[in-house]
Amino acid sequence: MTQRLLIAAWTVALAAAAASLALVLSSNHEDDPAARAALIVGLGLIFVGCGLVATVRRPENRIGVLMAIVGFFWFLSSLAEANSATVYTVGTALSLLVYGAFAQLILSFPNGQLETPMARAIVVLAYFDVTVVQWAYMLTRDHIGNANRPCAECPDNLLAVTQQHWAGEAFISLQRGIGLALLWAAFAVLYRRFRNATPAARRSLAPVVITSTVTLVLIAAMLLAAWISAQATHTINWFVLVSFGTVPLAFLVGLLRIRLQRAGILRMIVESPDELSLGEAERGLREALDDPTLRLGYWLDEMHGYVNVRGKPFVIPEDTPTRVTTKVNYNDKPIAALLHDRALLEDPDMLEEVVGVVRMGLEKDRGERALRATEIRNRALLDAMPDLIFRISTDGRYLDYRAPSEYDLLVTEVIGRTVWQRLPEELAERIMAAGRRAVEERKVETLEYQLGFGEGMRDYEGRIAASGEDEFLLIVRNITERKLKDQELQASRARIVAAGDEERRRLERNLHDGAQQRLVSLSLSLRLAQTQLQKNPEVAEQLLDSAREELSQALEELRELARGIHPAILTDRGLDAALEALASRVPLPVEIERSETSLPPPVEAAAYYVVSESLANVAKYAQASFVRVKVAQLNGAAYVEVSDDGVGGADPAQGSGLRGLADRVGALNGTLEVESRPGEGTTIRAEIPLGVG
C-alpha cells in the first residue's frame, strides 16, 4: 500500500469518525450518545489505525486490511443512529456487518488466510447471518435499535412490510441461534489452533486469541440475554464494545513485543561485546524468542559448512511443518544458520530483526570466532595424538604438559620442575640448546635420545618448536618399537647381502675346483694326445678317451652349478614340476600335496627354496623314512609345509640354511616357523603374503 493510499485511508477514517460523531451526538433515539460516540469513534479509529500500521509493516498480510475494514464497518454501523428514516434503515441493515468482518479477522489471524474449510464456512455463514437474516428480520419488524433491541424512538424501518410478531421472533431467534452456533464453532477453531501451535507460535497467538475469546464469550452472553431481558442485552452490549477494542490493542501488543524482543537481543549483544560466545548467543536468542529448541550454526569457510556451538558440524535439516532454517548472509557470503520455530516466519519483522542482530553480532566477532573454532579443532587434534607434549620455558622450567599415560614419564612430577631435575644432564643440555635455537630461529628442531627405565632402554624422538618469546614445546614420541624393527630389518638386510656374497664365493670355488679343473685337465690331455698322435696312436686314443670322460664330468658339474644359481625348471615349467624334480633327487619317499595356486614369481621362488632347503636338510640330517611337502594358498598367503618323521632337533639359530630361508621369507613380509623336538621329526612352515612383490 502506497503512502498516499495510506494517508487517503486515514483521512477517510477521520472523516467517517467525524460523521459518526455527528450522527450519534445528534441522534434522537440514542440513550447515551456521549458514551456511544466515544466507543464507535474510538473503536473505528483503533481498528483502522492498527490495520494501517499492520499493513505498513506487513504489506503482504491481509490482516491489516481486515482490521481496517472492521473499523470502517464500525463507522458504518453509526448510520443506524441517524434520524433520517432512510439513513437509519440502511444503517440498521448494515449495522451487524462488523460482526462478520470481526469473525473473518480473528479466524484468519495471524497470516490473513482462512486456512480450513471450517473457518471459511463459519465466516460465510456469519456474513449470511448479519446480512440476509438481518434483512429478513427487518422485513418483519419495525423500530429496531442497537443490537436489534426494540427501540420505540427509532425512525421508521422502511423495509418493514409486515408486523407479524411470530415472524419477527422466528427471524431474530434464527439469527441468534446461528450466531451462537458460529460463536461456539469459532471458539473451537481458535482453541484447536492454539493447542496445536508450537510454544513460540502460541506466544504470538496468545494476546489476540485471549481478547477474541473474551469478546466471543461476551457476544454469546449478549445473544443469550436477548431472549430474557432487553436491559441485560443493552448492558452486555457495552462490555462487548469495550471488549472489541481490546482485540486490535492485542495486535499492537504483538507488534510491541517484537520491539521488546529486539531490544532484548540487542542488549544481549551489547552487554557482552567481547565474551559473547556462540553458546551464549544461542541461549540469548532462545530466551529472547522464547524458542528453547532454537539452534545456531556458524559458518566456517575452511570447513565449507556450518558448525554448532560446540564446534561440531552442523547439518541443516529439511524444513518440517514446525521447524525451519533461516540462513544469515553478509555480502552474499554465509555467516550463520538459525534452525527455529516456523512461527518466526509468520513474524517477518521479527525474523529480520533476529537475522540483523545475528549478522551484526557474529560479523563483529568473526575473527575471534574463527580463532575459537581453530582452538576447538586443535584441541581435538591434541587429544588424538599419542605423543607427550611439554611446554618448557627457555630457563628450563616445565610450564605445562600433556601425557596420554604416565608410561613414558621418567619422573611423574612435571610442572614446576626443571629439565635438569627430570632428565639426565647431557640430555637436558641437548634439549635446552635445541629449545633456545627453536625460539631464536623460529624453526623446528628434532632430536633422538634414549632413556633408561627399570626394564631397559627406550628410544624417543623429540620435536621442539617455539611456542612463545621465552618458551617452547617439546613433543615426544616413543620410537622404541620402531627402532627395534629398524635394527631387525637392518640385520636381516645385512644377512641377505652376506648370504649372497657367501653364495657367490661358493659358486666361484665350485667352478674353480670343479668344472674349471676338469677343463684344464681336458686341455692338457688334448695337448698330450696331440703330441702322441704320430708316435703312439694307442696312447693318444687312451688320452682322448679320458679327455671325453673329463668333458662329460665337467658338463655334469656345470649343470649342477647352474641349478644352484637358479632352478631353470621353476621358470620354464612352474612350481609343480620344480617340486617334482626336487623330490626325485631326494633318496627317500616324498609325498607332495598341492592345491591349486597362482603365486607371483618372488613368492613362488621363496616357496621353492623353502622346499629345496628343507629337503636338503632332511636328506643330510634327519634320518627320516618319509617326507611330506604341502603347498597351498590360504587367506591371501602362500602356505608351505615340509614335515618328516626323522630325528628332529633342528635349531634354526644354528646353521645358515634355515636363517637364510627366514630372511628370504621375511623379505617378502612372510614368516618361517621350525618345529623340531628331538625324536619327533621336523616340520618347517612358511607363510608368505601374496601382496608383496
Binding site: 677343463l519 690331455s525 698330450l528
Partner: protein
C-alpha cells in the same frame, strides 16, 4: 731338467706329469700343499717348481717367496686356472720366474719362460 709339481688337484698333477715327461722333462716329485712343496723342494732339489697359486694351506706366492729365500733356490713357475692379471702384482713380486695358465701348460712354454 728336474721338475717338482705342486697342486692340490691329483688330476692336474697327473696330466702335467704326463705332458712334461713327454716333452723330456724329468718330474722328480709332486706335492699337494704348500708345506709339502717346501719339504719336497728341500729334499729333492728340483731345478724348477711348477707351483699352483691356490693351495689349501699357504698360497703359491708365499711358497714362492720362501723357496726364493732358501739355499739353492729353484726356479719357480706359477700356474693357475685363473689368469695372471687376476693376481695383480703378486706374480712379479714373489720371486717367481713366470706364470703359466694351467690350460696352456706345455714343456715348450716352460722352456721359453726358463730360457
Amino acid at each position: 731338467m728336474r721338475v717338482l709339481i705342486v697342486d692340490d688337484h691329483p688330476s692336474f698333477r697327473a696330466s702335467a706329469r704326463k705332458l712334461l715327461e713327454s716333452e723330456g722333462y724329468d718330474v722328480v716329485g709332486e706335492a699337494a700343499d704348500g708345506a709339502g712343496a717346501l719339504e719336497a723342494a728341500e729334499q729333492l732339489h728340483p731345478d724348477v717348481v711348477l707351483l699352483d697359486v691356490q693351495l689349501p694351506d699357504l698360497d703359491g706366492f708365499e711358497v714362492a717367496k720362501r723357496l726364493a729365500a732358501s739355499d739353492n733356490a729353484p726356479e719357480v713357475i706359477l700356474t693357475s686356472s685363473r689368469d695372471s692379471v687376476d693376481y695383480g702384482k703378486c706374480v712379479g713380486e714373489c720371486g717367481a720366474r713366470g706364470f703359466v695358465p694351467k690350460g696352456e701348460l706345455s714343456g715348450a712354454l716352460l722352456t721359453t719362460l726358463l730360457g
